[in-house]
């Protein structure tokens, strides 16, 4: 029997396996940031251990940094200490760091791919659950906790039980104006937040093949939101074209050797998945969330559901609690929900393609009164590219705020936060209670929906906008 893509990549990284024990897996790339690493470095110091492979380790500052005044010392002393601790740890242990102000700084999952460090067939980990993003390149990539960060620093390996395999096949083509984000939000509402638990998922099918690398990253990014261990996509010409020429991509004969190997990274025809799901992309529409987990979503054209619409008692209670927290009435059309703040950014939708798409909708239009639009590039490189293309001017002319790179309003940690009761339409990945700031209410949306919502002030898609003269 053949093997699936994830089984091939997994098997290539098994250092040791023994009956009744998890596999010992070699890690090709370990990404670090300021929030989940300090206790791991402390652990190394206490035990008198070193970083085994600083040359397979990269750190950046993203979660806890401001997106304004990035050339000044961080105002919040506790945040400053955390960032300075990362700098000291990287200096002490010889780890390459891209700090605030550096041209390669940015969200860890935007930085890896744009440097060309994220490549097919790798194992990639980071103390961040959205490490699944890197699976877009055909890598096994997943988030780990701080104890595991310490384990990888010390040994460049992890003990991991072999997950089950799942195929999510998305047939057909996405209709015009429907994006990878709508696709993954539709999938999560279909499966529920625990549907992927215990699985490495391979996304395949025509609609996946037709996605750009940015779109594939958006889909893989949200694997964790339906509980999957990791999500990955077989590398193809789109993947190779994206990587070629990136700073850390293989060159010359190495490139040829690498591509020859990457081409073998496909699920064999006779391989069997433990579970399979099929969806049809051609019926998908702009999709938004109304609740407090990413599985509580609906097409933009729908109305807010009622607890009575669900059969499972847990779902009924969860819906009731979510509507109460979100301040929403069952039966209200989603298009009538008024939004205070729109956030375009994060490791889900903060790449250059996302900003181009947002700008194409905002050009010649203006953000609604009483609505605020925050546009935050995922990395400094993305910011510079956007500025070179004049996108920043489009955003500013539309009345948006144009910020520096970082996680920003994706999580309520740095200064960019919602006020209690404030409602956002956000291109990020989590709508948990308080995720974007205590008491904040989040609707997850695609980039086009975010841009159109900013213009109309209520949840909208570009189709709802008046044509430009």
């Amino acid at each position: 029997m053949g093997k699936t893509l994830s089984e091939k990549v997994w098997d290539e990284h098994v250092v040791r396996s023994a009956p009744g024990e998890p596999d010992l897996l070699y890690i090709d790339l370990h990404l670090l940031h300021e929030v989940t690493s300090p206790q791991a470095f402390d652990g190394l110091r206490l035990a008198g251990r070193t970083v085994r492979r600083p040359d397979l380790t990269l750190a950046t500052e993203d979660h806890n940094v401001p997106t304004v005044d990035w050339d000044k010392p961080i105002a919040d002393p506790v945040s400053r200490t955390q960032v300075e601790t990362l700098r000291k740890n990287c200096a002490d242990f010889g780890v390459r760091l891209h700090p605030l102000g550096d041209v390669e700084q940015g969200i860890v999952h935007v930085v890896g791919p744009q440097l060309g460090l994220t490549q097919p067939g790798m194992t990639i980990v980071c103390g961040d659950s959205h490490t699944s993003t890197h699976g877009a390149f055909g890598a096994i990539a997943f988030g780990i906790g701080t104890s595991e960060v310490e384990h990888v620093l010390a040994t460049q390996t992890l003990t991991q039980a072999r997950p089950k395999t799942m195929a999510v096949t998305i047939n057909g083509s996405l209709p015009e104006g429907v994006t990878a984000k709508d696709m993954v939000l539709t999938l999560i509402t279909h499966t529920g937040t625990g549907g992927g638990q215990g699985y490495i998922v391979e996304y395949r099918g025509q609609a996946i093949e037709e996605l750009s690398m940015e779109g594939r990253m958006t889909v893989c990014n949200m694997s964790i939101e339906w509980g999957a261990k990791a999500g990955l996509i077989a590398p193809d010409q789109t993947t190779f074209d994206y990587i070629e020429g990136k700073p850390e991509a293989p060159k010359g004969a190495d490139w040829d050797a690498a591509v020859a190997h990457w081409k073998t990274l496909r699920t064999d025809d006779d391989a069997v998945f433990d579970r399979e799901i099929e969806l049809d992309a051609s019926t998908m529409t702009p999709f938004v969330t109304w609740g407090t987990n990413p599985g509580q979503g609906a097409p933009l054209g729908a109305t807010i559901p009622s607890p009575d619409d669900f059969d499972e008692p847990n779902d009924k209670v969860a819906t009731e609690k979510a509507l109460h927290y979100m301040g929403l009435e069952a039966g209200t059309p989603l298009r009538e929900v008024k939004v205070d703040t729109v956030f375009v950014g994060s490791c889900t939708n903060g790449r250059i393609e996302d900003l181009r798409l947002a700008a194409s909708i905002l050009e010649g239009r203006h953000v609604a009164d009483d609505t605020r639009l925050l546009v935050v590039p995922g990395s400094v490189r993305v910011r510079l590219q956007a500025e070179a293309e004049g996108l920043d001017k489009v955003f500013l002319a539309a009345g948006a705020e144009w910020r520096g790179a970082g996680c920003s309003m994706c999580l309520g940690m740095n200064p960019d936060q919602l006020a209690p009761g404030e409602r956002s339409a956000s291109t990020s990945n989590r709508n948990f209670e308080g995720r974007q700031g205590k008491g904040g209410r989040t609707h997850l949306v695609s980039v086009p929906v975010a841009a159109a919502t900013a213009v109309r002030g209520t949840l909208s898609s570009p189709a709802d906008l008046a044509a430009l003269a």
Binding site: P22, M122, I144, S147, H151, A257, N293, E433, K438
Partner: protein, 199 residues
């Protein structure tokens, strides 16, 4: 890490599904660079509600959390495990845990006991009849127990063999792996030269 064999303590019913790690500890509390002191962030938003279970003095010394399905979803923050431990919890019982949370628990010494959904309901019912009652999580026999006689609850729980063994022995995972140093070195010698490096 301390050994864990069995623990008996006040059971706390948390009647919610999908308790994500942003609820267990919001991001603003993640700025510390230590492993301690996170108890103030535990369920921070919900603790503003006077009716929240942890604000009930009955559960002041709670150490076994009995929660709805999909506990610990979302972020990889191990701070969620530390916050529970710093507060005094030794075990969490749920019918389904998010993978990363369960992994983090095993590393940090918190027992994540996975039971059938019906067992959670029975424990909730039992705790409603016996507020402040004690629940036992016995790792050796993989059972959860509460009460005695007619209305007693006793059932088995799932935890993977390897994690159970490490917790019972109080073993440090890194130490175990370093024992396989020669295997790692051999593996490294066979890695293709075109694999990327950061240095």
């Amino acid at each position: 890490m301390d050994k864990f064999t069995t623990h008996t303590g006040v059971g706390v019913p948390l009647k919610r599904s999908n308790v994500d790690t942003d609820q267990i500890i919001p991001a603003v509390y993640l700025k510390r660079v230590t492993r301690t002191g996170f108890e103030d962030g535990l369920f921070a938003a919900w603790r503003n509600d006077p009716d929240f279970v942890l604000n009930d003095p009955t559960y002041a010394s709670g150490s076994v959390l009995v929660a709805g399905p999909d506990f610990g979803t979302g972020s990889s923050r191990e701070h969620a495990v530390w916050a529970l431990q710093n507060y005094g919890f030794r075990a969490v019982i749920s019918s389904r845990f998010a993978d990363i949370f369960r992994g983090n628990s095993g590393k940090a010494g918190l027992v994540a006991a996975q039971v059938d959904e019906k067992v959670v309901q029975r424990l909730w019912d039992w705790l409603e009849d016996n507020p402040g009652g004690e629940v036992t999580v016995d790792l050796e026999s993989r059972t959860v127990r509460a009460g005695a006689g007619e209305d007693a609850v006793e059932d088995s729980f799932d935890i993977d063999d390897y994690t159970r063994w490490r917790l019972l022995e109080g073993l440090d995972d890194i130490g175990i792996t370093l024992g396989h140093d020669a295997d790692i070195t051999d593996f490294e010698a066979s890695r293709p030269s075109w694999k990327p490096v950061t240095a």
